[in-house]
Amino acid sequence: MSSATDNSAYNNKDNDASLDVNTRSTNAQLPSRSFHVEQLEDRDRYMTLSIGPQHPGSGHMRIIVVVDGDIIVSADPDVGYVHRGEEKMSESRTFVQNVPHIERPVIHDSSNILYSYCLAVEELIGLQTPERAKYLRAILAEIDRIQYTLYWLAILGIFIGHSTMFMWATADRELFVELADMASGNRITHSYIIPGGVRNDLPDVFADKAFKFIDYFERKRLPEYHKIFYDNPLFRQRSEGVGVLSRSDAISLGVTGSVLRASGIDYDVRKREPYDIYSDIEFEVPISKAGDSFARSILPIYDIQQSINIIRQCLAKMPPSGQIRAKLQPNPRGPPGEAYRRVESGRGALGHYIVSDGTPKPYRHKMSVPSVRNLTAMPHLLKGARLADLPVIYWSLNIWPVEIER
């Protein structure tokens, strides 16, 4: 238990403009968030654990849990370890210069986070995207959704000690990374979608290779995932009935994406507010009524199936040639105004809100990211759960910690 003086010492250190990191820091300087334990009467029964940031089951953040024996009494996510001030940085760069750093919060789902930014900028400036570019955007967005989900699944495997899942999912992810690499020239940070269209056209052999990889993945690999992972009795025991999020809680906490769909709510931005070509494309939205960690873990796999269908349809329907980028003047600017557009990312609804005052730079830029919404459900779900269930509940919420902090 730390005293109030420790806290104030830390705060003073924080306010100090020159952070002297060369001196040894001790535990007393780290902030103590155990105040809610000190207020309890019978406080010797409880123990405060700090999970992260240097912990295999925490990602880039820290979770401060108070346990009573094996039961979690309270869980407090402590974020800010990757906060980089993206929103402030946007204000000092033009709309086009913003493209590379906006995809960084979630680099393995970069196309989706850029997609909504570009939609918002296009609305502000008044740009028309060419038809072919719309299809190219959808293809890259779906490829990124698949490789994001596979990476997420790999980490889920690591968290629950299932290393085979890590190996399989990261190996299969390379197929899609290679496709995106082929289309855009970079493995994961493509900057492929830009305001007004896409950066470059696909190489000729892309379609053949894409069909080959997708067929292989769908026929050979996906059924195996069910065999080795989802039908595995150990995994089912650890996730079924764990961390149940009821339908009404899901609505009131405002979760999104696969977490919301696992609680039985049929909501997908691609269906509800179709953007670009998604109104012409047929796909289903898988939902589940269970609301537990198992449902949250398996729904993204069904989403992958749908993404594969979307890529197939896009490749078939795409106009064979044509313009891929609208003409932009050097420093594009639009009339003063604001725009909010959102897309369905790998984690859920992701939106960008941009206010423009008529200059080439945004006046205010706000990212509304799904990880934050899903994080709000975490303290609620962890309360009363066992400590051993923390990794499954935490990671099945489909959170990417870097995106929380932006």
Binding site: V21, Y81, R84, R187
Partner: protein, 180 residues
């Protein structure tokens, strides 16, 4: 201050004479010189192929570390396997990108807890100079003010091949290490 009699006699017992001590010292020096090279080679050879990086994710480059540990790139064939256990087993920190003002004291704390010898790889533009975030209010301009980096791996994020090359460079460096 005068030493008590009992301690004096004790010192005489373990240090029988300055002449003998000097002789032993010289002999030791000669011995170390003789076996320094082969012993150093053997010890360094052992270190090269058992690099255990700490699991501390500071930025988004961690995605490429995950890809580098995947079957396609398989960092493990170079002896690099993320240690999920204790910091006492680790001898390598791969700084995975951005280090911000909240993470920096923790990073140093982790580094201080690791036993010697320890090595640092700064991965990504962010860990080298601040990268894309050079003008951000919360990001340190490179990790060099916090940790002594042995190898810088450029890229944003570096491809797994680049990371592997960085690790091979670090192994070259360890080979040339002198025994202390």
């Amino acid at each position: 201050m005068e030493e008590p009699q009992s301690q004096k006699s004790f010192r005489n017992l373990i240090d029988p004479g300055a002449g003998f001590g000097a002789f032993v010292g010289k002999l030791g020096d000669a011995l170390v010189k003789a076996i320094d090279r082969p012993l150093g080679y053997a010890v360094n050879w052992g270190r090269i192929f058992s690099l255990w990086p700490v699991h501390l994710e500071t930025g988004c480059c961690s995605v490429e570390l995950g890809a580098a540990s995947s079957p396609r790139y398989d960092l493990e064939r170079y002896g690099v396997l993320e240690a999920f256990g204790s910091l006492r087993q680790c001898d390598l920190i791969i700084v995975l990108g951005t280090v911000n003002r909240k993470m920096a004291p923790r990073l140093r704390l982790v580094y201080d807890q690791m036993p010697e010898p320890k090595y640092v790889i700064a991965m990504g533009a962010c860990a080298i100079t601040g990268g894309l975030y050079f003008d951000s209010y919360n990001v340190l301009p490179g990790v060099d003010n916090v940790l002594p980096a042995d190898v810088h791996v450029p890229g944003c994020p570096p491809r797994p091949e680049t990371l592997i090359q960085g690790i091979m460079l670090l192994q070259e460096k360890i080979k040339r290490d002198q025994l202390k």
